[in-house]
C-alpha cells in the first residue's frame, strides 16, 4: 500500500518541483508587469492581421454590425466565393492574378537563389581581379531606394522588348545586392581547407558549389528565399509600371481594385487580404529558425 502510494505521489511531487523550478521560481512583480506590457504590445502589432483573418470569415450581417466586432461569431466561407465572383466581373478572373503572383514569385525565388549564391561564392572565395571593386559597388547599391532606378529600368526593359511580359517582372529582381551581401557574409566562414581538399579530390568549382558550398550555407539561401518571396509577393509598384495589360497584373494590384470597389465588396476585400497575407506568414513560421541563424552574420563589417 505504502509502496503503491509512493509510486503515485513521487512522480507528482517531482513534477511539481520541476514545474516550480522552471516556471514559478524567479517570478517577481516587475517581471509580471514586463510580460503583461509585452503581451499588450504584441497584441497591438498582431491585431490588424488577426482582424484580417477574422473578417475574412465574417458573414454579411456581421461585416456591417454596429458597433463592429473584432472576432467572427458565425464563420463562413462565403466571402471567398464572393471574391471569385467580384473579380469575375472584371476583365480577368481572380485566379489569373493568383497564377501571375505564384508563377513570378516561384521563378524569382528559384533563380535569384542560384544566381546570387554563385556570384557570392566566386566573390567570397576567389581573388579574381576586380572583385574588391565589384563588392564595393554592390555595397553602395544597398543604399539605392528601388524607386530611384524605376524610370531608367523602365527604359532598359522597353529596350529589351520585354515590356508587359513575365520577363519584365522576373529579370530585374534576380540580382539583388542585399541578398548577395547576406550570402557572401556566410560563405566567408567556409574554411578554405574544405575547398582545397575537394580540389585535390578533383572537384571543379561547379561541383564544389553544389556539393559543399550550398549545403553549408543553407540558412543563408533560406533567408534569400524568404526575402525574395516577401519582396515579390507584396510588390505593387513593378507590375504597375512594367506591365500594362490587366492579364499581367499580380495579387496586390488586384487587391487594390477590390478594396477601392463598392461597399458591398467589403467581405470580398477581406477574403482577398487574407489570401494575400497568409502565405508570407506561413513561410516565415516554417523558415524562422534559419532566418535567425543567418541574420547574426549580416552586419556590414566596416
Amino acid at each position: 500500500m505504502l509502496a503503491a502510494s509512493k509510486q503515485i505521489f513521487k512522480p507528482i511531487g517531482r513534477a511539481a518541483y520541476v514545474f516550480h523550478r522552471r516556471w514559478i521560481k524567479g517570478i517577481t512583480l516587475s517581471k509580471i508587469f514586463l510580460y503583461l506590457f509585452m503581451i499588450a504590445l504584441v497584441v497591438f502589432t498582431a491585431a490588424p492581421i488577426i482582424f484580417v483573418a477574422s473578417t475574412a470569415f465574417k458573414p454579411l450581417d456581421e461585416l456591417f454590425l454596429y458597433p463592429p466586432r473584432f472576432f467572427v461569431m458565425k464563420p463562413t466561407f462565403k466571402n471567398f466565393g464572393d471574391l471569385l465572383i467580384a473579380t469575375d466581373s472584371s476583365l480577368v478572373p481572380f485566379t489569373r492574378y493568383l497564377f501571375n503572383s505564384v508563377f513570378t514569385t516561384v521563378a524569382i525565388v528559384l533563380f535569384s537563389v542560384i544566381v546570387t549564391s554563385m556570384g557570392a561564392f566566386i566573390i567570397s572565395k576567389y581573388k579574381l581581379p576586380g572583385m574588391a571593386f565589384i563588392f564595393a559597388v554592390v555595397i553602395s547599391a544597398l543604399m539605392f531606394p528601388a524607386q530611384v532606378t524605376s524610370i531608367p529600368t523602365y527604359f532598359v526593359i522597353s529596350n529589351l522588348a520585354i515590356l508587359n511580359t513575365y520577363w519584365a517582372l522576373i529579370l530585374p529582381k534576380l540580382a539583388v545586392p542585399y541578398n548577395l551581401f547576406l550570402v557572401k557574409q556566410f560563405m566567408d566562414q567556409i574554411p578554405d581547407q574544405t575547398l582545397e581538399a575537394a580540389k585535390v579530390d578533383g572537384a571543379n568549382e561547379w561541383t564544389m558549389f553544389w556539393k559543399i558550398v550550398m549545403p553549408y550555407v543553407k540558412p543563408a539561401w533560406m533567408t534569400v528565399v524568404i526575402f525574395s518571396f516577401i519582396g515579390n509577393w507584396n510588390d505593387f509598384s513593378s507590375p504597375l509600371i512594367y506591365t500594362t495589360s490587366e492579364a499581367m497584373k499580380t495579387l496586390p494590384l488586384a487587391m487594390l481594385g477590390v478594396s477601392n470597389g463598392t461597399v458591398g465588396r467589403m467581405g470580398a476585400a477581406a477574403a482577398g487580404a487574407f489570401v494575400t497575407v497568409m502565405p508570407s506568414i506561413v513561410l516565415f513560421i516554417i523558415l524562422q529558425r534559419q532566418v535567425m541563424d543567418t541574420m547574426a552574420h549580416s552586419g556590414i563589417k566596416s
Binding site: I49, P68, L128, A141, F144, P145, S298
Partner: protein
C-alpha cells in the same frame, strides 16, 4: 590547372603577345569561375548600373518620351529647388519621415529586441513583432482604412465618440492636418520588423561569458552592460539596421498612396517618391523626374555614408 596559375602569377606577362597569352591562359584557367559569376554581374549591370547612370544623364535633359532628349544643363535642378513648391512640400514631408519615423523605428526595434531577447518564448514574441513587416501594405490597407475611417463606424472615431472626447467624427485620411501623422504611424508599425530581426540575432550572438567577465570588472547595472559590452559588439548589425531604416524612410510611397490617395489632399502626405512617380508615370516628364531621383539618391547615399562613418570604428 593549379600549376598554370602559379606560373602565370610568378612571371607577370611583360608586353605584346606574352600579355595576350597571359590573359587567355588566365581566362582559360578560371573559366568556370567567370561563368558562375557572369549571371549576377550581367543582371546587376543591366538592372542597377545602367539605370543609375542613365538617370544621372537624363536629369540634365528635357525628355517627354515623344521627342529625343534635349540637353538643358542644370535647368531641371533650378526648377526643382526654386520654383516647384510641391517638391518642397514633398521634401519637407520626406524629411519628416527621415527625422521622425526612421530613428524612432530604429530605436524602438532595438529596444524591443533587447527586451524580447531576455523573455521566455522569445521566438513567439519575435514572430508577432515581425508579422507586420512581412504582410503586404496593400492588403492591410483594408484594415487601416477601417480603423481610420472618417465616418462614425471607423474604429478610432467610434472609441473617441464613445468616450466623449470628440462629438463629430474626424476625417483621418482626408484632412490635411492629420494625414501625415496617420501615414507616419502606419509606416512606423510596418517598418520595425527587419531591423528588429537583425538586432535580435546580434544580441543572441554576444557570448555570455563576456557579461560574466564584465560583472567581475565592476559593471553594475543593465544599462552599463549594454553601453560597454553589447553595443560595441553589435556595431555591424547596428550599421546594417541604420542603413536599412534610412533607405526605408526615404522610400515611403505605397503606404501613403494606399491610405490617402494620389495626390493626397493639399499634398499633405506627398513624398519625394510620390512626386517622382507623378512626373515619371503620369506626366511623362522624364528629365525632370530623373532630377528628382538623383536628388533622392544623393540624400540617401550621403546619409548612408555618414552612418557608415559613425559606426566604423578606428579602435577595432
Amino acid at each position: 590547372m593549379a600549376g598554370q596559375t602559379a606560373v602565370a602569377a610568378s612571371h607577370p606577362p611583360a608586353y605584346g603577345t606574352r600579355k595576350r597569352t597571359g590573359l587567355v591562359a588566365h581566362l582559360k584557367t578560371h573559366k568556370i569561375k567567370y561563368l558562375m559569376l557572369a549571371p549576377f554581374i550581367l543582371l546587376f549591370f543591366v538592372f542597377y548600373i545602367v539605370p543609375v547612370a542613365s538617370s544621372i544623364v537624363l536629369s540634365f535633359t528635357y525628355y517627354n518620351m515623344l521627342q529625343p532628349p534635349r540637353w538643358i544643363g542644370l535647368a531641371n535642378y533650378r526648377l526643382l529647388f526654386l520654383e516647384d513648391d510641391i517638391f518642397l512640400i514633398a521634401l519637407k514631408n520626406t524629411l519628416a519621415f527621415a527625422v521622425v519615423t526612421g530613428p524612432l523605428s530604429y530605436f524602438l526595434s532595438f529596444f524591443f529586441a533587447w527586451i524580447i531577447n531576455s523573455l521566455r518564448f522569445s521566438n513567439l514574441f519575435a514572430l508577432a513583432f515581425y508579422a507586420p513587416s512581412i504582410t503586404s501594405t496593400v492588403a492591410l490597407t483594408v484594415v487601416w482604412t477601417y480603423i481610420f475611417s472618417g465616418d462614425r463606424y471607423g474604429l478610432i472615431n467610434k472609441f473617441l465618440i464613445d468616450f466623449g472626447l470628440i462629438d463629430r467624427p474626424i476625417l483621418w485620411l482626408s484632412n490635411p492636418d492629420y494625414m501625415l501623422y496617420v501615414v507616419m504611424f502606419v509606416s512606423l508599425w510596418m517598418s520595425m520588423g527587419a531591423g528588429f530581426l537583425v538586432f535580435l540575432a546580434g544580441l543572441r550572438n554576444v557570448p555570455s561569458d563576456l557579461y560574466e567577465a564584465g560583472a567581475i570588472d565592476g559593471i553594475k547595472n543593465k544599462f552599463q552592460q549594454m553601453w560597454m559590452i553589447t553595443l560595441p559588439l553589435m556595431k555591424p548589425q547596428l550599421l546594417f539596421g541604420a542603413v536599412m531604416s534610412i533607405v526605408a524612410s526615404f522610400a515611403v510611397f505605397d503606404i501613403a498612396v494606399a491610405l490617402t490617395g494620389m495626390p493626397s489632399a493639399n499634398y499633405a502626405a506627398h513624398t519625394i517618391v510620390s512626386h517622382l512617380y507623378d512626373y515619371a508615370f503620369i506626366r511623362f516628364e522624364l528629365g525632370y523626374a530623373s532630377a528628382i531621383s538623383v536628388v533622392l539618391f544623393l540624400l540617401t547615399f550621403t546619409l548612408g555614408r555618414i552612418s557608415m562613418r559613425m559606426f566604423s570604428s578606428s579602435d577595432e
